[in-house]
Amino acid sequence: MRFLDTLRFRIATLFHRSRMNAEMEEELRSHIQHRADDLERSGVPRAQAERRARIEFGGVVRYKEEAREAAGGALIESLLQDLRFALRQMRRSPGFAVTAVLILTLGIAANVIVFGVVQGLVLRQLDLPHADRVMTLQPKEGGPFLSYPEVRDVRDQNSVFSAIAAFEVQDFGLEANGVTRPVWGCEVSGQYSEVVGIKPFLGRLLQRSDDDHPGASDAAVLSWSAWNSDFGADPNIVGKAVRIDKHPYTIVGVTPEGFYGTEKIGVSDICVPMANEASLDGVNWLDSRNYRNLFAVVRLKDGVTLPQVQAELDTISGRIARQYPKEEESLALKVARPGLIGDFIGGPVRGFLAGVMALAGIVLLAACANIGSLFAARTADRTREIAIRIAIGSSRWRILRQIVVEALVISTIGGACACGLAWMALTGLAGWQPPSRFNFKFQVLPEPSLILIAFLISVLAGVLFGVMPLRQIFNTDPNDAIKGGGSQFSAGRRWALRDVLLAAQIALCCVTVTAAFVSLRGLGKALTMDLGFNPKDALRATFDLNQAGYTADAATDHFQRQMLERVSQIPGVEAAGYANTTPLAFDAGVAAVFSEQTADFRHSNSAFDTYYYDVSPGYLTAAGTPLLEGRDVSFSDTAKTPPVAIVNQEFARRLFHSEHAVGRYFKNRSGASIQVVGIMVDGKHFTLSEDPQAAAFFPISQKGDTKTALIVRTQRDTADMVAAIRKVVSDLDRAIPIRELGPWNNQLALNLFPSQVATVALGLFGAFGLLLSIAGTFGLASYTVSKRLRELSIRVALGAQAKQILSAALGRMLILLGTGSVIGIVLGAAATRLLSVIVYQASAHDPFVLGAVALTTVLTGSLSVAGPVSRVVHADPATLLREQ
């Protein structure tokens, strides 16, 4: 016996992780032996004495547990035990574990990804020194743009900014080492380097003196990435001569790695002083108050508060408005959070992300509810096991802790998987270029703090669903549970927590499904909507002749007309025309329109603002924009003939209250009378979700522009045609860098981008929500059925009809499904109002959407109860009753 004890002790020391455990075992055993010795001395046979000593000692397991806890440090030990137990449990029911982990992975990943994007685009400060002092300066109303004189006035009159700078993103032809490349450049005003506050990586940055007057400096600063990719990270770059749009510049410095300017979505390759803009842009706008094309950023002085800034801005803009009533009448300025062009796209982006974040939260809640009810069901299945453990002296707390540990293990594994998934998704997103000619770059690189977030979310999730079976455990009466075989599941049971959970979960899932359908429907409409032109079977090429040294006046006669003639002669070309830009390209001009009677041309006297384009003859045909009345523009409309325009229906309706306006006149800001010679259809000009906008087309031969967008309508193979067009352009002038050339449809991708992003995001959430509600409904239905199979089969044996059985077994499920769905659809409809900013014509009042959501819900519901239903109907009472 002694030998065996010693052996057991040795084995215990070998196998138990802590020495303390083994010592405790030995101590308790020693106690029992001492007691047995005493009993033996009083005449009891040894074997019997030992047995009695053991009984007298009481619940060894319980005292050991209590002693371990009393000794402290036991928590970790017993947690380790719980952990091992949890892993064993998971191995025993891998189906449950895999489902739970999968659901959680998706739920947590959705949240981590969304949070990553929110962190990158909204929460994270710009990567600049004292970034909290950097703000965007923008008009209170309307677009984000300011004119240079406005920025200059604020610069000279304010006392709250330590620096203020304007910048404009511009495409440049950068000529270095004998090659011309189209690059994105940035024209910045003198204090830009002070606003961003960075130190150069090489050389120097632009200074105030560089921007003193036009031609003050030929300095240019390269971005770190352009220095790397285009100049092979040449360490002797400073001092190197390059040419930008044929003008000589000298590289004076390189910005540090990780500097992307003040916007989180774009990167420019080279910075030049704004003072030189006339030579680069072909238009001198430095003194024009009507030419609003600049973004402005400011750095607040230390200690200055936002209210002080606003007060000062109000004073300054009031003063400017009084000084220049004609141009600046409605000027009102504010500062906004930087990074997303102030509130211009920042507002919608933040709104949309908040919405998506809420959806992600809903999905996570639904996932937790789902797993929670799975856990509750499983705990109910384990009632007997739990009862036995309570009976042999295990404390309820201990059992509860075990279940929570199990939940935490599952959620931690889910969190780890989710983290990996999110990391991959965000890395992909950061490296991905949206379909656009602009140099977009999403700075959503996954950061280590995401791991923390994922961990927090998974712990939260674990606790959330882990505590759901709590009541069950505390109410377990060992006697009942063991006697009843764990199937005390009465027919008329009260509504349980899991019923509410299921209904809530279905409601939440319905919200995501509704949102998904609404945005899908919106995208569908956007794809088939009437744009006012037909991008199908059309190619579009864009370039700026300014980059090859042409002036606006010479562009038409010296290049564009020849190009148009030659392109029209390419076999297979049905129509061709060009314009300074095309609708939905984000760079159309906006001008005030005045009625013919107007004499005072201040902005408040204008009738409305219109988009305007300069187009060549044939452009309308090539673009597929129907001319409803009147004539097309012609090359015989020149600067010497009276100004004319083609306007759209909206324009005519607004100004003349009639769509038959050919022959009538309107005036522009400079007071010139312009005759309407044609009426064209309405279309989309800036975004797909906009209301009808006024638009006017002027003959490009009357004004001239170096910016060229060539439209060629053809049925021929795209590749052949692209090559032919490229050849025409380079035959005419080799120095012209073509920025875009390809199917027009592809170039419109950016316009569809927001609704596509919304649709993909919401579609994923919708699908996931659907998956969850199927899993939840199926789980609870089969659980209900299996618990009551015995009772139901007795009913069948007694002659109940299938219908009665079904309503007994699943009637409650159907009520839950119905209630949940209705609540969900109502909530979803309310939530989709938020969507209408992003998605074209997003509306939940669309019968198609409502029908689709309802149908989906019914289908999912039936699908998920189909299995359990057939199990009930086909159950053989005889077999069942025998088995149980």
Partner: protein, 113 residues
């Protein structure tokens, strides 16, 4: 057995301290000593001793060393530390005050009120 009193919560620690104050003892020995000094009037389930012992060791009131018992078995012997001795004094005073007060309250006669 029937006339043994249930232990008041919290008094076991005091009893252990007192038992050990008379000389180092192993667990079973402590139980025997408590029985001996209390005239076997208290009902203590044997296992219940150990959580108390471990707690007192953790609080630094007892220290434990392995040794050999009078039965020639390996056993863990407990003895008081300085803190334990001090605690025993304080607790004993507390107990005496409490006992006197409760005793007085329970024996108060109507005419004394």
């Amino acid at each position: 057995m029937a006339d043994q009193a249930q232990l008041l919560p919290g008094t076991l620690d005091l009893l252990i301290l007192r038992a050990v104050s008379l000389g180092p003892l192993h667990g079973y020995g402590i139980l025997l000593r408590i029985g001996q000094i209390s005239g076997n009037a208290l009902l203590i389930e044997q296992g219940a001793l150990y959580p108390g012992l471990f707690r007192l060791v953790r609080q630094g009131l007892l220290k434990a060393t392995w040794g050999t018992s009078e039965n020639n078995r390996r056993a863990k012997f407990y003895e008081l530390t300085a803190a334990g001795r001090k605690r025993l004094r304080v607790e004993t005073d507390n107990w005496n005050r409490l006992a006197v007060a409760i005793g007085a309250a329970l024996t108060a006669k109507p005419e004394e009120v």
